[in-house]
């Protein structure tokens, strides 16, 4: 035992103070991202069919599309960064590519109005959800 450990033991307070979080951590679910991707696609479809003169409806579609596309990116980043671990690449070697595609398509959906981008985003998020289920089954 070195001096540092001895000192640490001697100085250790008897009381703990919690910089805590009671929110249950360790709960991961790609369902929110899947719902978000579906919403983006739905908004794009509505925008394509909407009367461009109806500014209020169009503004609402755009706002929801923006919000959900960003949410998809956020939710996927959390699962990718917090839940996935390097050994999971053995189960899902395509993981990083799929996440990268989701980030790229999420941004494309925010920037543009191409329904094909939204459909591709939904497909990739579904693929990510499959990867998640596969990895979770190994834990």
């Amino acid at each position: 035992m070195n001096i540092s450990t001895l000192m640490q033991r001697a100085l250790r307070p008897s009381q703990k103070a919690y910089a805590h979080c009671d929110i249950p951590c360790g709960i991961y679910d790609p369902a929110t991202a899947q719902l978000g991707a579906e919403t983006v696609e739905k908004m794009m479809t509505l925008m394509a069919a909407a009367d461009a003169g109806n500014i209020n409806s169009m503004a609402r579609y755009i706002a929801i599309k923006e919000q959900h596309a960003e949410m998809v990116k956020h939710e996927v980043r959390i699962i990718w960064g917090d839940f996935m671990k390097p050994p999971d690449l053995a189960t899902a070697p395509e993981l990083h590519d799929v996440v990268w595609e989701i980030m790229r398509l999420g941004s494309a959906c925010r920037q543009g109005t191409d329904v094909a981008d939204a459909a591709a985003l939904r497909t990739k998020v579904d693929e990510f959800a499959d990867i998640f289920a596969k990895v979770k089954a190994t834990r």
Partner: protein, 185 residues
């Protein structure tokens, strides 16, 4: 005579040591940090001295890391962000009286379920938040805290040796009206 001097010195030393220990215990309380909601200001496993003192008045209370008891009796460490009499919204940013606070110590985004708005904090109420906004249970959950429930103010970190120092409170800053100084995400 020499013996008596020695005895007197020993008695004086013991009395002084006892007095100093008593004073230290009454003035400070050592605690170990557990959990990560105050990172990067406080890391789990660090040892702090809490000053058993009431909060400073007015603006001086802002930014202080305080220890308070929750209902289960646990001692919590959180930072004072909202002061008595203020109107506050804790969402993507924290707004005080309608002005966006610039919080260089904070990180993470408040989850939608934790959004909280207080029309006006009472004359004795403070709003406390963890620095890690996406993983902290604080006033967004249990509401404002009264000054009486604050048991101490984190004053000094004394372990690990590389991070020893006084815990200074940040200056209170608000974003410029045009948002140029607003925190970037």
């Amino acid at each position: 005579m020499r013996f008596m001097t020695l005895v007197a010195a020993v008695v004086l030393f013991v009395a002084l040591a006892a007095f100093a220990t008593r004073w230290l215990r009454r003035t400070f309380a050592p605690v170990e940090v557990a959990g990560e909601s105050m990172t990067p200001a406080l890391l789990p496993g660090e040892y702090l001295l809490l000053r058993r003192d009431s909060l400073a008045d007015g603006e001086q209370a802002y930014g202080q890391i305080v220890a308070l008891r929750d209902r289960s009796g646990r001692l919590l460490l959180k930072r004072v962000v909202g002061l008595p009499g203020e109107s506050l919204r804790a969402g993507a940013d924290v707004q005080i009286n309608g002005r966006a606070l610039v919080e260089r110590y904070a990180h993470g985004v408040t989850p939608a379920a934790q959004y909280r708005g207080i029309d006006r904090l009472g004359p004795d109420e403070h709003f406390v938040l963890g620095d890690r906004r996406d993983a902290s249970t604080d006033s967004r959950n249990f509401g404002p805290v009264r000054a009486a429930s604050i048991e101490g103010v984190a004053a000094l970190r004394y372990w690990p040796p590389g991070r020893v120092g006084l815990l200074r409170r940040p200056r209170r800053e608000f974003a410029a009206v045009d948002g140029a100084d607003a925190p970037r995400r």
